[in-house]
Amino acid sequence: MRLFLDFVPVLVWAILAVVLVGGMLFASWVLRPHVLQNSEKTSSYECGEEPIGPARIAYPYNYLVYTILFVVVDVMGAFLWLLAGSSFRLDVGIVWQVLVFVLIIMGGMGFAMKKLPETFLSGQETLTLYRKAKTERELKELETGGH
């Protein structure tokens, strides 16, 4: 109960966010011209061709490594945030512990920065993979006879 009065501004802000976004969507719904939609109007635009299948592409897996790196640095930040909020009542020997902690994780990040370029696909490798995937797809279409 004691914390609730401290966090009332957060509650106000959350309610304001919901109200504002909902209000903007509602206002656009009011101001929109209401015409009937048919399937030709609502289909996605693909330079004149007919779109087949859902519009989901497979991202390269390299973006996942950045998310993992972010999570690691985030956890490190949470630990350091705890330290920073303590108004320096701690004894001096903690400095070494903090240093070792930061060095361990930054060493890991340094390793990641060195080794990440090796996980990227160069131009030739991308070409090879693309050709392999294309021939696989053609072979599959040959088997199924044009889905």
């Binding site: 996942l64 993992i68 999570v71 690691v72 985030d74 956890v75 949470a78």
Partner: protein, 106 residues
Amino acid sequence: MIPLSWYLAVSFILIGLGAYGMMVKRNLIRILIGAEIMGNGVNIALVAVSIYSPAFSFVGQGLIILVISVAAAHTALAMVLMLIYNRRYDTVDLGTPISLEDDEHV
């Protein structure tokens, strides 16, 4: 005052939900979500018991910090393993028959 058993009840409901999700679902991502829900339930129980215990020390809160960071690390690795599984078998379903014979790499 809210009695401790209420917090523990919520925690056990979350643990039960997480266990149900991990056992019943066949999609790998749902299983991971079930594991995380279970972890959240355990964290709630830990903090609640630590704060309500008579000899108060910061064991519960400190332990929670370590548990959350370890959960983050293992979720990251579970994600990578899931992607490897998908790259190999082209599905995220756990029920796919996996043969141990040595066929060519897809």
